[in-house]
Amino acid sequence: MVNERSSFSLGARAPRSSSCEIEPILAVSTLSLWYGKQQALRGVTLSFPVCRATAVIGPSGCGKSTLIRSLNRMNDLVPHLRIEGQILFHGQDIYARDADPVEIRRRIGMVFQKPNPFPKSIYENVAFGLRVNGLKDHLDDRVESALRRAALWDEVKDHLRKKSGFDLSGGQQQRLCLARALAVEPEVLLMDEPCSALDPVATAKIEDLIQELKVEMTIVIVTHNMQQAARVSDDTAFLLLGDLIEFAPTEQLFTRPSDPRTEAYITGKFG
């Protein structure tokens, strides 16, 4: 849906099969960010490869959560925030004066660290995003499709309207949140430490899903679990104190990183 009132336009949504072009659709350009007087990001420049999973790793306080929350303007909720630089989605700065954060968040979805289903039925949880975005036709089919993509359909298909989102286990809740995000067919999926509240079995299921999903969308995953980053991602970015230290294919970053600080972090040897 193009907002005709503003000159800012993200362009028509590309059909699924051709959304995996070569050019990155999401990129960050000399992005700096301040919480009040505290600088959280220092001139980060990074392009997220399309149809691949990019992991963002780094110690606590390095800015990885700040970065990912800036990508879909969830940081707008934080008071006293200042941003310099650009975040380009399809070549347009999402922080431009006439940019519509609602439209951006529809096309860049997010899964949070702690599963946050709504206190509604499972069906309504998934349908909410669809209703909000005017995708009301074939609602049942869309809900089923989203739940299938999140590998949750078989577990909940008999209780769609009877069980609330909160009646599910932690791992199922997170997959419900994933289904909810997938229902609106985002082009980019941001995942902020999606498995840190889950047990190993639930974690493994989500990681398998990421492998399936990255074939058709861009995924950015923040994680403090390095083995997970190594398992799941194709490329990895290492942040330290707000700086981007290194960005390389995962296999390379974890076997022969070029920066000694990266080496120190991933081998777990902090002086």
Binding site: M226, Q227, A230, F254, T255, R256, P257, T262, E263, I266, T267, G268, K269, F270, G271
Partner: protein, 232 residues
């Protein structure tokens, strides 16, 4: 002096692994030296001891492999640490094979018996010297993760090859001249061959050291032509 760092138990474990590899290197070097000694002294009893001693070298190798496996499973080493551990697996295997070559020399000494040597031993001790120097240097390069030094050591393999060819030529001439010397000459050629094999294995070790140091896997001292003449 150990720098203070996190994962100190893991760091200590890695150092212990390194020490084990160096110890294995020393055992193998001792076996090679012993091989030359028993050859020069025609010491049959010593040869039997050398042959029996190979079991200890094998045992040490398996212990190192177990250690590596444990580290991989429990510590999830990454980057430089990961390269080091996988290199150790290779190096231990190469060292064990060097030990087998030394054992082979012991078996030849037994076969030679007490018959007088057909020619005085000059080049074989020389070759042994080169090989021992290479092995010692390679172990040093491993302990320092010195890729440059490793490359230099690997280049000496040519020297060893040349000397090996000279030995073979000499023994060949002897065989042609006097058929009764064929048996012993063949045995001595085997000794030379074993020593040259050890030099090749040291080159493998050097490749691993380069891998640990730079992260790239290269073949050192490649010779792909069908030219069998030694390079000079």
């Amino acid at each position: 002096m150990e720098e203070k760092t996190t994962r100190s138990a893991f760091v200590k474990d890695l150092h212990a692994l390194e020490s084990e590899v160096l110890e294995l290197g020393r055992s193998v070097a001792a076996a090679i030296r012993e091989g030359l000694r028993i050859l020069e002294a025609r010491d049959e009893a010593g040869a039997c001891a050398l042959i029996a001693g190979d079991a200890a070298i094998n045992e040490k190798r398996y212990q190192i492999e177990e250690h590596c496996l444990r580290l991989l499973a429990t510590q999830q080493p990454m980057a430089g640490d990961l390269r080091r551990v996988t290199a150790v697996l290779h190096i231990a295997s190469d060292l064990e094979r060097m030990g087998d070559q030394a054992e082979g020399i012991g078996k030849i000494v037994v076969l030679l018996g007490t018959a007088p040597l057909i020619k005085p031993l000059i080049d074989i001790p020389k070759l042994t010297g080169i090989v021992l120097e290479m092995l010692d240097a390679a172990m040093g390069a491993f302990s320092q993760s010195d890729g440059e030094r490793a490359r230099a050591i690997a280049a000496r393999d040519d020297e060893a090859d040349r000397l090996h060819n000279v030995i073979d030529q000499d023994l060949f001439h002897l065989m042609v001249g006097d058929p009764s010397k064929i048996t012993q000459a063949t045995y001595l050629m085997w000794v030379s061959h074993n020593l040259e094999r050890i030099a090749d294995l040291v080159t493998n070790v050097c490749e691993q050291v380069v891998f640990v140091s730079t992260g790239s896997i290269e073949e050192l001292n490649v010779r792909r032509t069908c030219d069998t003449k030694p390079r000079d």
